[in-house]
Assembly symmetry: D3
Homo-oligomer: 136 residues x 6
Amino acid sequence: MLVSVFRKAHFNAAHRLHNPKLSEEENKKLFGLCNNPSYHGHNYTLEVKVTGEIDPLTGYVIDTKILKDVIQKEIHDRFDHRNLNEDTVEFKELNPTAENIAVVIWDLLRPHIDSKLQLSLRLYETENNFVEFNGK
Amino acid sequence: MLVSVFRKAHFNAAHRLHNPKLSEEENKKLFGLCNNPSYHGHNYTLEVKVTGEIDPLTGYVIDTKILKDVIQKEIHDRFDHRNLNEDTVEFKELNPTAENIAVVIWDLLRPHIDSKLQLSLRLYETENNFVEFNGK
Amino acid sequence: MLVSVFRKAHFNAAHRLHNPKLSEEENKKLFGLCNNPSYHGHNYTLEVKVTGEIDPLTGYVIDTKILKDVIQKEIHDRFDHRNLNEDTVEFKELNPTAENIAVVIWDLLRPHIDSKLQLSLRLYETENNFVEFNGK
Amino acid sequence: MLVSVFRKAHFNAAHRLHNPKLSEEENKKLFGLCNNPSYHGHNYTLEVKVTGEIDPLTGYVIDTKILKDVIQKEIHDRFDHRNLNEDTVEFKELNPTAENIAVVIWDLLRPHIDSKLQLSLRLYETENNFVEFNGK
Amino acid sequence: MLVSVFRKAHFNAAHRLHNPKLSEEENKKLFGLCNNPSYHGHNYTLEVKVTGEIDPLTGYVIDTKILKDVIQKEIHDRFDHRNLNEDTVEFKELNPTAENIAVVIWDLLRPHIDSKLQLSLRLYETENNFVEFNGK
Amino acid sequence: MLVSVFRKAHFNAAHRLHNPKLSEEENKKLFGLCNNPSYHGHNYTLEVKVTGEIDPLTGYVIDTKILKDVIQKEIHDRFDHRNLNEDTVEFKELNPTAENIAVVIWDLLRPHIDSKLQLSLRLYETENNFVEFNGK
């Protein structure tokens, strides 16, 4: 009997869409305004979903206070008020599209969530654009 | 060709997280502020999802007016403006975590939804904490 | 490794629930106020979900600018500020329930999305009533 | 010591922008798509604001249950699932712009709110377009 | 040249509407379900508004980090996960209606905001019911 | 008889809080993470409020299509997908706090709104932090 628990978090970051393996011209053509060399930014909203059995002792699938702390430490403290392209090792070579950020966040969270629990996530770049990744 | 229909509802209730089989000390350690003996409370938002074939006569999977009335009678009238631990039979012995409330609500709704339709639900305890249950 | 990309859009339309194969009386009984012969209306919110592999060149599953343009042309320009029953070929004979509108929109979008990508959608008729269709 | 109390309500209606004193051509030029003769529609959200002193007996400026019932009877039951131009006396001759609807609603509510209380309101036509009227 | 700065915060609490100077019967008649002796609860959202001149050195009217800390210490830590009637000195004798809670919060915040700045606030009890207090 | 018309718009930008007249150390102390030299960013939401009499010909205070176009041209096209500190003349010397951005936007919009209409605005930097400016 599986139940999913969701926890939302937020971080504000600068980025530009840019594939370092392509020329400036190709990047500009592919990414338009999002390729602006001096960056733009977003309020990212992250929605983490953890699925598993309810522990009969606690009535929890996972204690959301623990989940909140993991997200705070692994994601918020790493990316909030940062420039994703400039300030993080994760996006030095990787284009910080919402899709790629979602996969990177999943990889960062996975080791900190009990392996019998499934992990999925949504990342909102704006209210109108968002992505979902259900894991590898 | 399956389509899902969603209907949202709300109820406001008091509760405390407490497992009657554990000592006061263990409860306090597990649930912290949520274990406050004089209770705290939430505006719960319930999102019911019913999945099935479209009836060609009505163009409906389920008439949302009927779904609304079922939720009103079975859930809202039972839990709204109540103390979940004190005023309800469902949580006399069961810890009213979001996970457990979701399963209880599913059990209460299931007999009132046509058995050829699937039933799932989400329960929001706050905007940042919510759970999903897709059924037994 | 599948990632889903979501894009939201809006259109405002008039409609009435009415099955032309039924009598006036049967329609009134089935659909109540929603059968009002002079129509009522909604702000519809459409959430399109496209699922596939991340293209390593762009970091995109699909360029949301392209997705946005497809939705604008195929859905918004067709239905926005229209009377669904009166002004559209799609609902001349088909009852414009949220369920039927969702399937019609899926059929309109499908040919414009690369066939290796999956297509799903949600249609919000109001904040409290919405439907989801994951495709044929 | 003045406190304001707010109550939200919703109604879904069809309308077209049309000034009956102008020609078809002038109407089309002024109102574009909003002038569509077969109508379009909206989910209107109404936010009523009542300002006054707190009654020391109840701790209320106004009992929101009473305010809710007034809005239900005077506004919702009159306009919900209606065509504003066709089905209502208020907009037979008056162009149902958000501005005019707001003033009409204020006039309909004012006699039902105690005269020592101030009355204001907001009317949302969409999430992005709304109006406010603080009274005559 | 006055600018207003807003900061939102949240707290979850139990309460019952009850005027200790009235009989049980009168309380029940006035407050209905909200008078439930075993309490119900809400997710309260607080929106604090501080108005003043922009400091040319910082570009701030008030540093929102400081405002956030004041709200956290004076309001959140006092009321979150509490029973307003049972656990707080403020509502031992005062009926915790949204109106009264708003005035109490204003009184608690006022000494901690520079006297050249104006202070107002909104308190949301639910999405549909909220109050505003612009000060004494 | 005054009515206010509101129109919302969005832009996504990078910025850092930095007063060029202060030392690096003073800036870091005043603005903390917000002073990050490689920038961070936000989804800004702008809410423009225009107040005046209803034009009896149109039923409008202002045509929101015109207001939308003014905001698009004067604000969105100038600031969207830009680095406020690097890419704009407005914030070359001025610290781009929400307060200062709000005043700059008001100055940019004022000449394009009929002088008999009042102009106010809100700028949301995040859902929890926002500012309001009612004009000079």
